[in-house]
């Protein structure tokens, strides 16, 4: 973590050949307090984080979780109260925003309304005193990547939201920054366009090979695009991992609830057999969950299971894994799946997604008594 020896200054124009051994972005013990009515309110509490070169990294969390503050500290718009920020191994903690080799795509795009597309995109290169011919070449290249060729003379008010979005992206990417920061850039777009831009962003990132740091509260967006996700809550990182890890193995109750839908049951461990804990909930009802050896019988644990892993039966099954009985209270048809809400003897309602792959009819209807089963590996103990 103490690789703060200033690295040689790399000219920003050679983005491709700029792989170093350092993480693209690194936070070491970073805290950020805001003063509100004379009182220090923490926005980010003790953040240690390393984002790798070329990574598509998402900061995901509800509003007020500290994700935007974290991003603004990378950009240089906020100074940490304590700790250090490194870019490519260089300590940039006290460096002004205009002297940092990172660029940002703002939520509101923040295009210069008095400048046209060409002038907007050239702005950064002009400040860096890049030659006219070189600017023309690079701007032309980036406009082609974001499919805006031919729009050079347009002003912001003459463009759609999606086009403005691309200008904002081009304006940042044309500088070949060490990292591109995106602050909920798709928030203002409608659903279709948003999904289109998600794929587009991913393609562009692959094409330019720049580290992307993506701030969002939309878990779907983060899961779709990211190499890794940091789920933040109340100024802390709750979990850091690949989308699959975070979805399949939520580390905390918060993550389990924030990412997708989770069914969570708390019960004491009845016995442990070969790495599997069995939680007996009734004569024919039990939950089977893989646990580390450190979990003894008798300890109460929280178990999470995703709705799409559960099978719904009308008759009592002879399954080896988890079995729960309950009554269907809600059936919602979603096209690709049917969602059931089942009130169980554990006291909590379970949500079950049943793919409409074969059956034209619903498995069960409201008020019907059903059995829920799922394989042991699909349950997951939280915080163990």
């Amino acid at each position: 973590m103490t690789t703060s020896a200033p690295h040689h200054a790399v000219p920003a124009s050679s983005a491709a050949g700029r792989r170093t051994d350092h993480p693209a972005i690194e936070f070491v013990g970073v805290c950020k307090d805001y003063l509100t009515h004379g009182e220090a309110v923490p926005a980010v509490k003790s953040l240690d984080l390393a984002i790798a070169q070329g990574e598509f990294f998402s900061l995901l969390g509800p509003s007020g979780c500290g994700k935007t503050t974290t991003m603004r500290m990378i950009a240089g718009f906020e100074a940490p109260t304590a700790g250090k920020v490194f870019l490519d191994g260089q300590d940039v903690t006290g460096v002004a925003a205009n002297k940092r080799d990172v660029n940002m795509v703002f939520q509101s795009y923040a295009l210069f309304p008095h400048l046209n597309v060409l002038q907007n995109v050239s702005f950064g290169l002009e400040r860096k005193k890049v030659g006219k011919a070189e600017i023309a070449r690079r701007v032309g290249e980036i406009l082609e990547i974001v499919s805006l060729t031919g729009m050079e003379k347009r002003y912001q008010k003459e463009m759609s939201g999606g086009q403005q979005q691309r200008v904002a992206l081009a304006r940042a990417l044309v500088n070949h920054p060490r990292a591109l920061l995106l602050d909920e850039p798709l928030g203002a777009l409608d659903l279709k366009l948003r999904q289109q831009m998600q794929i587009e962003l991913k393609r562009i990132q692959r094409e330019v090979g720049i580290t992307f740091v993506y701030v969002t509260h939309d878990q779907g967006e983060a899961l779709t695009m990211s190499d890794r996700i940091a789920v933040m809550n109340a100024g802390l990182i709750e979990q850091l991992g690949t989308p699959r890890e975070i979805y399949e193995r939520p580390a905390t109750r918060f993550v389990a609830g924030f990412i997708g839908t989770s069914n969570i049951v708390a019960a004491p461990v009845s016995r442990v057999e070969g790495g599997l804990a069995v939680l007996d909930l009734g004569p024919e009802e039990r939950i089977v969950v893989p646990v580390p050896a450190s979990v003894p019988a008798g300890r109460e644990i929280e178990v999470s299971v995703r709705p799409e892993k559960i099978d719904l039966h009308r008759t009592a099954p002879q399954a080896a894994g988890s079995v729960l009985a309950g009554t269907v209270t809600e059936v919602v048809y979603h096209g690709t799946s049917t969602n059931y809400t089942v009130s169980t003897s554990t006291g909590s309602d379970f949500v079950v997604f049943d793919q409409n792959a074969h059956d034209a009819e619903d498995v069960a209807s409201r008020g019907e008594r059903v059995f829920l089963t799922w394989a042991p590996q699909h349950s997951y103990p939280i915080g163990v």
Binding site: A96, N98, A110, H114
Partner: protein, 287 residues
């Protein structure tokens, strides 16, 4: 019936204002235009003869005052831009929750009548007034030094009296700038001054444009400041019009002078709008 009402509604709404303009703007303008081409004297009355000589006389006799007025107006306007921008900028970006208080403080002196305020400055600036008396006592300025009656005093009065008309439009323009746009400039390697020069100032230009219109025209045609703070060396065209109309009852000359002044100011503004590029100004304003 309903459709008729709906088509008529906009016209009905514009009717009171339209009538007002017709009565108190168009009619007097036409009357004045006709007056400026009349001949005669106050005892025998004036008669319309299409007498263009009035304009020739106005220009040849009062060229000095005309040029002086435009120079005063120009100096005042430039000084106002330089002074108002920092004030408006500070209130817009650093005023915090007290923005309206600061704006109110700025306007507070203007609750007192225009003439009264100017007369109080006369008291302050006079040779033995509260400003010069102590300075002369202390030997910091020579006893023969005076401010009142000079061009400086008149321009000072004009600047003082028109300050809010420049600050307010610039403030409104600055206030509308999204702070993220300024951050974007910083993010794109612009140092604070560069961000100001390349982003903040261009975006505030519509406000400057409005401020110039609201100060240059009335400052150039003002007659109070020169009358109260100036001397015969600082006579402005407004004073000449006033004297011709009220003292000499030479209505044709007063009208011809007014019309000529209006023509000069209008063409000045058109040139100015042309030079600044109204297109770009409007683009920025309409974002």
């Amino acid at each position: 019936m309903n459709r008729v009402k709906r088509t008529l509604a906009p016209y009905l709404l514009v009717l009171p204002g339209g009538l007002w303009l017709l009565l108190f703007f168009v009619v007097p303008m036409v009357t004045m235009l006709s007056l400026s081409l009349q001949q005669g004297d106050i005892i025998n009355g004036y008669r319309f003869t299409g007498h263009w000589q009035n304009y020739v006389d106005a220009i040849t006799d009062y060229r000095v005052q005309m040029i002086r007025s435009l120079v005063y107006g120009l100096v005042t306007t430039v000084a106002l831009i330089v002074m108002s921008f920092p004030i408006a900028y500070w209130i817009a970006f650093h005023g915090g929750k007290r923005k309206s208080t600061y704006l109110f403080l700025l306007l507070l002196p203007f609750f007192v009548s225009f003439v009264l305020r100017t007369i109080s400055w006369r008291q302050i600036l006079t040779d033995d007034g509260m400003l010069l008396h102590p300075l002369k006592e202390a030997g910091l300025v020579s006893s023969g030094f005076h401010i009142l009656g000079t061009s400086y005093a008149v321009i000072f009065g004009l600047i003082y009296n028109f300050l809010p008309f420049m600050v307010l439009p610039i403030y409104v323009a600055l206030e509308r700038i999204d702070p993220r746009v300024v951050e974007a400039a910083r993010d794109l390697y612009a140092a604070p001054m560069t961000a100001f020069r390349r982003v903040v100032f261009p975006l505030a230009l519509p406000g400057v444009f409005a401020g110039v219109l609201m100060t240059f025209v009335p400052a150039s045609s003002d007659y109070v400041n020169s009358a109260v703070l100036g001397s015969s060396e600082t006579t402005m065209i407004g004073q000449v019009v006033q004297a011709q109309a009220l003292a000499n009852s030479n209505y044709p000359m007063a009208s011809a002078l007014s019309f000529f002044l209006m023509a000069v100011l209008l063409s000045g503004i058109l040139l100015y709008a042309r030079a600044l590029g109204t297109e770009d100004v409007m683009n920025a304003a309409a974002r």
